[in-house]
């Protein structure tokens, strides 16, 4: 828990000051489950989210300002229906990944609200969406930077200097990758919110190592001395 200081407090003691409690969101997976009052826990341990809540929680990041908050628009509905139609009528669940991609593409990350929406759309329990979101490294649950940079760390790229590239990018963007546990939280966002970095596994272009993805753009032969140039090329974007 201590590795993620941004998780908000959730009241455990029913007798505590009500005014501090966030209003429970309506319905679906966001509704906090009633939990037994454990006074020893209140006194000695920091208040914590339940495991379920931790798993759907979206931490605040400086990148948030670049993404609209989740809303079901006509465009989204239309795209979602198109995707669902790709699968047999009784196999709507197959559209989980495509729908989550649509959400992440528009809103930057998978929020608790969007999990509810996807599960409604596909007539499946929210947990079946959560298990997918929490498994695949391709889905993130907090806003990345305006430019999200994924540097390949696998063998050929590492031999070509991708760790050095990562260090250089972090230096330029003032990102401290050690601030959080990379296993729990692989994405590090710069304080200004313009950049975020993450290590990726082999991006299938080992012959042109080191390589990286900036949002959806692929870049090859990015040795560390080209880091500045790479970021500058997005200056007017």
């Amino acid at each position: 828990m201590s590795s993620n200081p941004e998780i908000p407090e959730v009241p455990v003691d029913q007798n505590a000051d009500d005014s501090k409690q966030p209003a429970p969101p309506a319905g679906g997976i966001n509704t906090p489950l009633p939990r037994p009052v454990d006074r020893t826990a209140v006194e000695y341990l920091p208040p914590a989210l339940s495991v379920l809540e931790q798993n759907i929680h979206s931490a605040k990041t400086p990148g948030e300002k670049f993404f609209p908050s989740f809303a079901v628009t006509e465009g989204l509905e239309e795209k979602a229906n198109e995707r669902i139609a790709q699968y047999p009528d009784d196999q709507k669940r197959s559209a989980v990944l495509p729908l989550l991609h649509e959400v992440q593409h528009r809103f930057g990350y998978i929020s608790p609200e969007s999990i509810d929406w996807v599960s409604d759309k596909l007539d499946i329990e929210p947990i079946k969406v959560v298990e997918v979101v929490t498994f695949y490294p391709g889905f993130r649950q907090k806003a990345p930077g305006k430019l999200h940079i994924r540097v390949c760390r696998t063998l050929s790229c590492a031999m070509g200097g991708s760790y050095e590239l990562m260090d250089k990018l972090c230096e330029i963007a003032r990102i401290d990758r050690n601030a959080s546990d990379p296993h729990k939280d692989p994405i590090a966002v710069s304080p200004c919110g313009n950049y975020s970095v993450e290590f990726a596994e082999c991006l299938a272009s080992c012959g042109t190592a080191p390589v990286c993805l900036v949002n959806d753009d692929f870049h090859e032969d990015v040795t560390f001395d080209k880091a500045k140039e790479l970021l500058n090329s997005y200056q007017n974007a």
């Binding site: 991609h101 298990e131 590492a158 596994e201 272009s205 993805l213």
Partner: protein, 464 residues
Amino acid sequence: MSITYEQGKKPHPNEHRLIFKNVDRRGWNPSIKRYLKEGGYEMLKKALRMDPKDVINEVKTSGLRGRGGAGFPTGIKWGFIPPDNTKPVYLICNCDESEPGTFKDRYIVHQDPHQLIEGMIISAHAVGAHTAYIYIREEFPEAAITLEKAIQEAQKNKFLGENILGSGFDLEIYVHRGAAAYICGEETGLIESLEGKRPYPRIKPPYFPAAIGLYMAPTIVNNVESLCHVVHIMRMGGDEYVKLGTPRNSGTRILCVSGDVKKPGYFEIEVGKITFRELLYDMCGGPKDGREFKAVIPGGSSSKILRCNETFKIGRGDDAKDLDFWDIPLDFDTLAAAGSMAGSGGVIVMDDSRRMSWVLNNITHFYAHESCGQCTPCREGSTWMKKVSDRIEGGTATPTDVDTLEQIAYQIDGKTVCAFGEASAWPVEAMIDKFRDELVGETSEDNDFKSKERIEQEKFLSSV
């Protein structure tokens, strides 16, 4: 009409280009117009006039072996669909391309999508599938768009949809994007992922999804490159195709070379017609200046590493002969006989500047990150291997740690739900087997650490 290629991208004279004919080609683009100008979709017309059984027979005659990693004969796999099947049949193109060191499907789906689509329609016709999916890794966002556009173009030209070219055959192809998980390349993990679940590979048997696959219906999963070969088999005929390459290793395949060579890249060669010497010295320009080759991973990071100064005993009994590493022909069978595998064709080269503990550590991190976590030996073992190799690489290990690491590896392979277990254990086993001295050389007895618990324990364990 002679074909010219972009500056500096000219194929090496040793190459034999079928699949990559249009990659880096001057004046080429991924549109259907360009593809049709080159006689594209003619093989589809030919195949649609044939009985599906005859198409399967051509592929069987061709001897085509899957290019996704296992090298299983494609025609035979197609024949595994139960004859009394009443369910729909599905065809899935495996475009997950995530085996470290492999970068061939990338160029097909970015530059020549119609070759793949034509191959898929012919294959679907052969196996009787009316719905096909291209499972493409999330990290190919541009290719996903290119493919969807190509599918639309093919629909407009009546190569897809209902009653294709008046043959009575119907087919729809859809693109399904993954989400950056290596295990989705394993065919049953892929199927689970396509069903909208976590990609936990399925327990075998059935050994092939051709019996029970997507939505519990017969499903054929083939690699991108394999499906493209089908077009060329139709064009040449199985009998001609089988003459390419060497016996039991027919056709061409794309080798991807990365790491410490002067000119890394992709090379389409006749299977078995090129040796390591020709590949690494003639085609890749040899080692970097002042360096020597040390070790080679021949078929993606899951294959066993080979030392460049090794000699192998190939064959049995009287046929046995010594084969120098440099003389190994790059085919499925010789590499298997040398104790490794041709796998996905990803050749990763290391020169004498590389510390093997560092290489090993990079690989164990990959597998610890990518284990799906479903079965204990793999989930726990991959993490332990990462931790022990962290110590070896960091110089804080004891000599017995190398033995511990080896033991962990041998307790994974053969004991897991899917072949990821072998994929993660083999590189470790081979690395220790081939470079034990170097690894042990980085350890020290002085690093032996006794925790309080261990000291307490030993009080009771010591002999009386």
